[in-house]
Symmetry: C2
DNA sequence: TGTACATCAGTGAACGCGCGTTCACTGATGTAC
DNA sequence: TGTACATCAGTGAACGCGCGTTCACTGATGTAC
């Protein structure tokens, strides 16, 4: 955010000094505000306080700027997920759940990155660098699923880790894009998107035979702030 | 699709005769091709073989055309889901699952409607008519969840139907937007989006205590067409 | 059945706008000697 | 330490383009009598 308030030409002299970064930040702001489709190269230049020709010193075209943002987004996403996973501490299920929450938090806190990564229509699969970054991020979820699968209760078939990873990803993405952001077409929910996703993941894991009876710490902590009759376990009090 | 190939001006005379419909169809084609953001009013007119001013006889502006499409999409979506639910026949779980598949099929077969409805950034909640249509579609899922919840196994807490409905919705939407369409940023899957969603829903329902051991007819039917080692139950053969 | 007229659904030219992009340029910076 | 010069990172004017929108208009259709 440090470049959001641009110094005027007079203040900063002929050379900007940090234009590439300033353009990325400006674009992030614009995407967060108007969506990936509504962001223009010219606007980014304007926000950075620079002539419309200046960005061409740093990016071949609009698409390259957008790709850079997606790239950075995937890297940051990977870091966030890795940190949430924390190598499975204190126990695999708790950590797994934390990954789901981190996913949602990222979508909420970094809507511009999220848009660029998943909703901009960028052909991720045609750009090897971008594809690799996306793959690295997904592999965090996959590795976590791998560890979880290895813990499958004896006597039950062991679920394929890749499938579990895809399931968790789709749940997270679904909740995030339907309910996770404040902008448009939203619906009033009886619970927060976070709680909704947490319950979904817990029920899913239970369906695979994992024990999920213990209350998660965060669910317990949040219970006081909820309206009466709200969930205390994965889906609330029995009726 | 009957209006995709437009008759020339000479062939059809001064009056088009079916312009409103032709514009809707043209817009659907453009949205399917280039996304909701990439569709322009002028382009739709061009595709309909008509001057750029003509559409204004039928739609106040671009947004009204887009809303009409979303509106029609929600209506069609509702019809498809209602028919898939088939009032819970032959049994509630089978029918419920079929709703999930119908969701996915709609997203795949009607990408333009789906985009307009969920990815166009239209402020659905600010347009009462649109909101009502969206609500009617969702209420099909909700009613199905209601029936399913009423069947909860005795001795287990009964899950809130609204939550179940939101979970199913988010799963379907997640799978649909990540894997359900051919256009961009797609990933090679070890199984089809349909199977992925089916397994996800079955595991979820099992997590709620519903019996899901019987093989679904469609899963059995499809088994022959799969590569070796593919799922036969909700998630495949035990390892 | 024919005619006058209102209404409807299109035309096509024009507008202002903002965008992406290019170009020759210029001011600032860094480096070789 | 000072100077000449290459390089870098900006400028600002200009372009062509397609868009959304408006306007006075006109051809076709339908209806009253």
């Amino acid at each position: 955010m440090s470049w959001r308030k641009e110094r005027s030409r007079a203040e900063r002299g002929y050379h900007h000094g940090n234009l590439k970064e300033a353009l990325l930040q400006a674009a992030l702001g614009l995407i967060a505000e108007k969506g990936a489709a509504g962001f223009t190269f010219a606007d980014a230049a304007r926000m950075a306080g620079v002539s419309p020709a200046a960005p061409y010193r740093h990016f071949r075209d609009r698409d390259e700027l957008l790709s850079s943002i997606a790239q950075r987004g995937f890297d940051q996403f990977e870091a966030v997920l890795t940190s949430a996973w924390d190598d499975g501490r204190p126990d695999t299920i708790t950590a797994f759940e934390r990954v789901g929450k981190a996913y949602l938090a990222f979508a909420r806190e970094e809507p511009a990155f999220y848009s660029a990564m998943f909703e901009s229509g960028l052909p991720v699969d045609l750009n090897p660098t971008l594809m690799a970054a996306s793959e690295r991020a997904f592999s965090v979820i996959r590795a976590a699923a791998e560890r979880l699968a290895a813990l499958a209760p004896p006597g039950r078939p062991r679920p394929p880790a890749l499938m579990m990873a895809l399931h968790i990803w789709s749940m997270s993405h679904g909740v995030a894009s339907l309910f996770g952001r404040g902008d448009a077409a939203r619906r009033k929910l009886p619970m927060s998107a976070e709680d909704l996703l947490e319950a979904e993941v817990l029920i899913y894991l239970r369906g695979l035979g994992f024990p999920t009876d213990r209350r998660s710490p965060s669910a317990t902590e949040q219970a006081d702030q909820r309206p009466a009759g709200q969930p205390s376990g994965p889906w609330g009090t029995p009726k």
